[in-house]
């Protein structure tokens, strides 16, 4: 168990170092999320007050769109020099590859959120009444769920030639319950004090996270196995 975590950290460290050098993926993700916000401001007039109601939804649309870019890269990047095979022949548990990739993607997507969510609030002149701590908690829990299932399906889709197109088709239907819960919970904590009304959504998300983390963790080795 301990070596599993250590290996996962090693892999995540390698990925992040790679990313730190090129800044390609994270740069693209941030630019893309900004562009999505820009397009939204054309689509929905920001000066209109009723638009405030869609802000919680926009947060998640941005996260998913930008996140998909990063998820697509996470296993495709390992095809260069076939380094994924290098990881497979190394004496590590396949699950640690999964864990490492989840950590990397979590860092990337959280970074994008840290930049794009304040920007969204700023550009749409949104003032929320809730407590920021609950908001952060809900964003974090939903993002974890998104990354867990996203990383798993990215590994699955990476086997196909058209993996960039395949990933959203696989991911979005499975993500729907999490997104319903995330949008509703975000709306509640942004508009009201306290978390009492959002607690059942929070429970649903935590349940989703745990269930899919366990399922993906154990099924991942089947994805890594050769035929």
């Amino acid at each position: 168990m301990k070596t599993l975590l250590a290996d996962a950290l090693t892999i995540a460290g390698k990925d992040l170092r790679n990313e730190w050098k090129s800044k390609q993926t994270i740069g693209m993700m941030i630019i893309f999320s900004s562009l999505v916000i820009l397009i939204f401001s054309f689509a929905f007039d920001p000066t209109n007050n009723t638009v405030k109601a869609i802000i919680p939804g926009l947060i998640w649309v941005i996260t998913i769109f930008a996140g998909l870019l990063g998820l697509n890269r996470s296993f495709i990047a390992e095809n260069e020099n076939d380094s994924l095979t290098g990881l497979k022949v190394a004496p590590i548990d396949p699950s640690s590859i999964f864990l490492g990739k989840v950590l990397t993607n979590l860092v990337l997507v959280t970074t994008v959120q840290i930049i794009s969510i304040p920007m969204l609030f700023l550009l749409f002149d949104y003032r929320f009444h809730g407590q920021i701590i609950w908001f952060l908690l809900i964003v974090l829990i939903a993002t974890i769920g998104f990354i867990v299932i996203g990383t798993f399906l990215a590994a699955l889709a990476a086997n196909a030639k058209n993996s960039e197109m395949l990933l959203p088709v696989l991911l979005l239907p499975l993500l729907s319950p999490l997104m319903i819960a995330a949008v509703q919970a975000t709306r509640i904590v942004l508009e009201q004090e306290g978390i009492a009304d959002a607690i059942s959504w929070l429970q649903l998300m935590v349940g989703y996270d745990l269930l899919f983390f366990a399922a993906c963790f154990f099924l991942f080795e089947f994805l890594m196995e050769g035929s």
């Binding site: 290996d7 790679n18 020099n81 076939d82 095979t85 022949v89 548990d93 035929s227």
Partner: protein, 234 residues
């Protein structure tokens, strides 16, 4: 001692390997040759644990390898077609990364020594993106040797290398062999097979059809003629 016993592998509805058996002692060097599609690469993948055999057993030092044990991966250094290296990272970073995964002790020191040995010492802090095929291959060898494997599996290591790199590679292989490492080589390059290996197996259609010792005095031509005769089945 690494033993593969009666390995059979079916992929889809194709029988890739049938009743394949092989014994590799430490300090021995064996070449596996054969035409394309004979199952050479598949057999390598089975041996390094990338695939599971349909039937058959793999034994390492008299102990049977179970699916989950990572023993095989630890003891075998696998040099594949590709280098398995990360282009954005420097040689040092690449080796340190793999060293951590293989739980190598004194990583920094060992990496420095290995880089000197393969002659990449001066380039240790340059991203390997700009490396030539020869330099990549040298680094890939360093990656394989890093974990002190007991067996080296080399999948066509000589392709695309210049004369200098080839002789460096052969020197490294010979040195390791003298230290008691078992070498298994897949190659189409008979010149290298003759100069590196002591024993040769000919694989065709998933089966070992011939096996013999190599006499390095014999020269290349007779060996080639022998191979042609074996494969065409005369």
């Amino acid at each position: 001692m690494l033993e593969l016993k009666n390995i059979t592998k079916v992929i889809g509805d194709k029988l890739i390997l049938r009743n394949f058996s092989l014994t590799l002692a430490r300090g021995e060097s064996v070449a596996v040759i054969g035409p394309n599609g004979a199952g050479k690469s598949t057999f390598f993948k089975l041996a390094v644990g990338l695939m599971q055999p349909t039937s058959g057993e793999i034994h390492l030092n008299q102990a049977q390898i179970k699916k989950k044990s990572l023993l095989l991966q630890k003891k075998i250094g696998y040099l594949g077609h590709e280098s398995f290296l990360y282009n954005a990272l420097t040689p040092r970073e690449n080796l340190v990364f793999y060293g951590k995964l293989y739980k190598v002790k004194n990583i920094e020191e060992k990496v420095a020594n290995l880089l000197k040995e393969v002659g990449l010492h001066y380039f240790k802090d340059i991203p390997i993106r700009s490396f030539s095929r020869g330099m990549m291959q040298r680094l890939a060898i360093a990656r394989v040797l890093l974990a002190d494997p007991e067996y080296l599996f080399l999948d066509e290591p000589h392709t695309g290398l210049d004369q200098e790199a080839v002789s460096l590679l052969n020197r490294l292989i010979e040195e390791r062999q003298r230290e008691g490492i078992g070498i298994l080589l897949i190659s189409h390059d008979f010149e290298q097979v003759v100069s590196v290996c002591e024993r040769v197996l000919v694989l065709n259609k998933g089966r070992i059809i011939e096996e013999r010792q190599i006499d390095s005095e014999e020269g290349l031509m007779p060996f080639k003629n022998w191979y042609e005769a074996v494969v065409s089945g005369k």
